[in-house]
């Protein structure tokens, strides 16, 4: 079973990297980009027996730092 886990910064957490990317986009002449938030994607190949609870625990214990990040799990 393949999973895609998307980790993104919580609202209200400043993202200096996102800001730098936004500036770079406007430097390339792309107008109207109001905001950029950078995040991470993990693609996991897990046993079919892996429970939702186990995946949630993987996210909370390691893949995301829930002080600053949210996560979302997609089944592929």
């Amino acid at each position: 079973m393949k999973l895609r886990i998307i980790v993104s910064l919580k609202n209200g957490v400043l993202d200096p990297q996102g800001k730098a990317i936004q500036h770079a986009l406007s430097g390339l002449g792309f107008d109207g980009v109001d905001d950029v938030r950078a995040g991470k994607i993990f693609e996991l190949d897990v046993a079919d027996t892996t429970t939702d609870e186990a995946v949630d625990e993987m996210c909370r214990k390691l893949l995301a730092n829930t002080v600053i990040e949210n996560y979302r799990v997609e089944r592929l």
Partner: protein
């Protein structure tokens, strides 16, 4: 003082802090490899050094915080053993949850490597008793991810509990409330981005960092 310095693959300030501890206390600390699950008995201090543990993969300090030895460090800290985390060590301690908040990419995006002015906010802890509250000291920083973040409620709580040990006296990395060093609620754990172990002798340009270790030695010995 019986001290241990934890060594991860990618640590690069482990020998600096070991030298500082030995210089001040006269006793060589024991170096403990990250894969060991046991710490020496009867420790007076555990130091989690700076560097780039596990290549800063995933997030700074994230992998180190889940290593076998750090589980023992957390258990020891919860029993009251003094723990100091410097730079990457601070990042590791926030990742374990021993200290609240997180350290994010510097607001200016650049790696900052220079001497900075710090204000001592609380000289009542075992780590800061060598200073006076309100005093300005100079200690170097060298980091890319030192921008302290915590939600507003957490910031209010740690300020109210007097847990800010050091604040930057100048703009450095965008840290919330200019927090440079933070104590645990019980006061036996400190995390700080500046490197006191790099200001131990006159040849380093000053000895403001030495006083942290001298105060600590008096407090625990």
């Amino acid at each position: 003082m019986k001290a241990a310095v934890i060594v991860f693959p990618g640590s690069n300030c482990d020998r600096d802090i070991a030298t500082a501890i030995e210089d001040v206390s006269g006793t060589k600390p024991q170096m403990v490899w990250h894969g060991d699950s046991d710490l020496p008995e009867g420790l007076d201090l555990i130091a989690v050094p700076g560097g780039f543990s596990y290549g800063d993969y995933l997030r700074c300090g994230a992998i180190a915080a889940r290593s076998p030895v750090v589980r023992s460090v957390v258990e020891a800290a919860e029993k009251g053993v003094p723990v100091i985390g410097v730079c990457n060590g601070f990042q590791i301690l926030t990742e374990t949850g021993l200290l609240p908040g997180a350290l994010m990419r510097n607001a200016g995006l650049d790696f900052v490597c220079r001497d900075v002015a710090l204000t001592v906010e609380n000289s009542q802890s075992i780590f800061t008793s060598g200073y006076r509250t309100g005093e300005s000291i100079t200690v170097p920083v060298a980091h890319h991810d030192g921008n302290y973040f915590a939600d507003p409620e957490t910031l209010e709580r740690i300020e109210g509990e007097g847990r800010v040990a050091f604040r930057y006296g100048e703009a450095v990395n965008g840290s919330a409330r200019s927090i440079a060093g933070l104590l645990s609620k019980a006061g036996n754990v400190i995390g700080m981005m500046p490197h006191p172990e790099r200001r131990i002798e006159a040849a380093h340009g000053g000895t403001d960092g030495r006083r942290l270790f001298e105060g600590l030695l008096r407090a625990v010995a």
